[in-house]
Symmetry: C2
Subunit: 412 residues, 2 copies
């Protein structure tokens, strides 16, 4: 009989609550505040479901406190209208060394994806699975979706030649790639991306979601990697970028797309012109400060190093299959007999740790969790919890002990 988790009646109830909330919250996981409201008796400690560099949140908070709150400026961020997109694009263009005309500012990466898919995808969209669900959810009525399945035998890495063959066969007008991919963590190196882009010149729109690119690296110095600049050479390329994960500010909704000037103009003309809020406007302004950027670079590297350490510690738990990752999260496959829901429930109920149950992710065969890397202290707690849940069973008693149980010796 395979090993199992035994849920207490309270945990069973919690499991049902999570299931119900999941249905309500659509394609994403229930938010922390939803969970808190529905199950106030959870002692919430670590949110490893959502993907965010916590040190970056610290950095943003300390700037906000010093530059805004201490100066009595919080009210102004809430009260007044933020600037329109083209104004913010100018600031961000300076920061990223990109032309503002190529930048489309969005209310989070999801809006950038949605607007690109709605405005530029024609008939057939190719998405790799498993994927971030908006990549296929945002298709409009009339769009045909085709899926290319990443192979778990190959650690979900993209086999370029096989993929290009699939593209030639299916002839999609739009393809969507995520690099590093979510939830698998696999990464296509710059040279591979360049090879792909050359081979995909006939595809009308090639969307590359680089929302996790700040956690990827190709050298021991963890220098930044991104293909955003290649939009100048490949007019069919659209690079999408969330700023929620790397900058730790999911609540303020900041993201952008990099694409040809004509496409940016088309989106602005279609009314996507005023999507920022007071806090994202402040954040984009903060990004123009060299000092902020320098401090950010240091914590970006720190988070990468700690994440890779966290992944290697998880690998030492023998019952788990831990996939390699260039994101700030890791995909973990559970052993037979364990369901993602029961482990999620136990992690939340016993340890206050919220992890991502991947049951609803298309293209994953088996039971998977996605675990976000948090601060070093939190990562250590996550490791400890998993080590306890997946402790190797106490060595089975040898047969002769079962047949001839030890009897305490009588005293002579």
């Amino acid at each position: 009989m395979p090993p199992q988790l035994h849920l207490s009646p309270w945990e069973q109830g919690l499991s049902d609550q999570i299931k119900e909330l999941k249905i309500k919250s659509g394609s994403h996981s229930p938010s922390v505040s939803m969970l808190r409201q529905a199950a106030p008796d959870i002692i919430f400690k670590i949110d490893a479901c959502f993907l965010s560099n916590p040190y970056a949140t610290d950095l943003f908070m300390s700037n906000l406190e010093r530059e805004v709150i201490a100066r009595g400026g919080l009210r102004a961020l809430l009260e007044f209208y933020p600037a329109q997109n083209s104004t913010i694009a100018e600031q961000l263009g300076q920061t990223l060394n990109l032309r503002p005309e190529n930048l489309f500012i969005a209310n989070g990466a999801t809006e950038a994806i949605q607007s690109v898919v709605h405005n530029f995808a024609k008939k057939k969209i190719l998405v790799n699975l498993p994927a971030f669900s908006p990549h296929y959810e945002f298709a409009k009525t009339g769009h045909e979706m085709v899926f290319y399945y990443l192979d778990k035998k190959n650690n979900f890495e993209l086999d370029l030649e096989d993929y290009l063959g699939f593209v030639r066969k299916e002839k999609p007008d739009t393809i969507i790639l995520t690099n590093p991919n979510n939830p698998t963590g696999n990464y296509l190196r710059l040279a591979q991306m360049e090879y792909l882009l050359e081979a995909l010149k006939e595809v009308e729109t090639v969307v590359v979601d680089e929302s996790f690119i700040h956690f990827a690296f190709e050298d021991p110095l963890y220098l930044p990697v991104s293909i955003a600049k290649l939009t100048e050479s490949y007019p069919n390329l659209v690079v999408i970028k969330s700023m929620s994960k790397d900058f730790g500010i999911a609540g303020i909704r900041a993201g952008y797309g990099v694409m040809s000037e004509g496409r940016v103009k088309a989106l602005l003309a279609n009314g996507y012109l005023w999507n920022s809020n007071g806090f994202s406007e402040y954040f984009f302004r903060l990004c123009t400060q060299p000092k902020f950027w320098e401090e950010y670079e240091a914590i970006r590297k720190k988070h990468i190093i700690e994440t890779q350490k966290f992944i290697s510690q998880l690998k030492q738990i023998p019952m788990l299959r831990v996939y390699p990752s260039f994101g700030n999260f890791v995909l973990v496959e559970l052993p037979d007999g364990y369901t993602a829901r029961s482990v999620t429930t136990v992690m939340l109920g016993r340890y206050g740790i919220y992890v991502r149950d991947c049951t609803d992710k298309k293209g994953l065969q088996g039971e998977y969790l996605r675990i976000g890397s948090r601060s070093k202290k939190e990562n250590d707690q996550i490791i400890k919890a998993f080590s306890q849940i997946f402790a190797p069973p106490a060595a089975a008693k040898p047969l002769w002990e079962k047949l001839f149980p030890k009897v305490p010796r009588r005293r002579p």
Copy 2:
């Protein structure tokens, strides 16, 4: 020779700066932060360009400070993902006594307008002019826009029969009305709206933007008026609502649309499912508290009363033509010889008061300003500034004094 404003060289420079910023900031006015950055020597005192109940901002801030900041909860609003739209629709449905299935939560009213126009308008869109510019800016390529001009001789009030005749002639599939209208301030009473809706049953989509409805009234108690509930009887009706102006929180971007269940479903299926940020999520939750709502109602009425007082004080300045208004702003026509830009510049440069230059508003013949009503103290300062700028010229000296100037008498 008509009266004129004489701008100092510094004011002339400021005027050019404002003009340049206006070009950069698209169809809207430059934001306060843009102005501050471009012209740091302005002593900024009152923003009467943007339309917002300042007492509501006070109320929101005091709740945010007590419930969030004092409890150390600010970080969570910035760090974590907000809930998706359908979750927020449930809360707002309770608050507004509307079915959540009829509610579409948006990143500000502009997103609601844009999504409705993009997804439901077919070929021909009718907009009344002057109007809030997104109502015609959000049309897609292929949409034909037709304009119905409100007549200034009639205080820009809508002549229902003439309008219905125009609709019958033009046969638009989508019409957009704003009630109260911006920037004119004119208001269609509930009975008039019902009459219109009955007569417009053949029009596929009737959008009514009620973003200023909280400042309108039909009785001496200023009881709330809205046709949102009529979406249940008129499936072609879409009511749009910004929460920026009445709740004083333009920076957090909160708005919604009320429409048939099928239309809400269609929008959610098209990917408009995750548009709120941490602060708007908190605000929607705050709205479910009866205590907040009670306090809000009191300051809503207070702001209406003060606004109507402000308008009647402005009317006492003989050189201005002040239009009646049911919004929290007032449209003012300048006398001959004064341009909206020069008055805007002088208001900003000499008094630190920012008003809306309406030069770019389609459908206004003449020179107009739109002036937002602020707190009583600020309104008094605005009145004072206008009274000084438009002071009646000193009484001309009688002819005999010019011919026989008074000579001081010699002492005997």
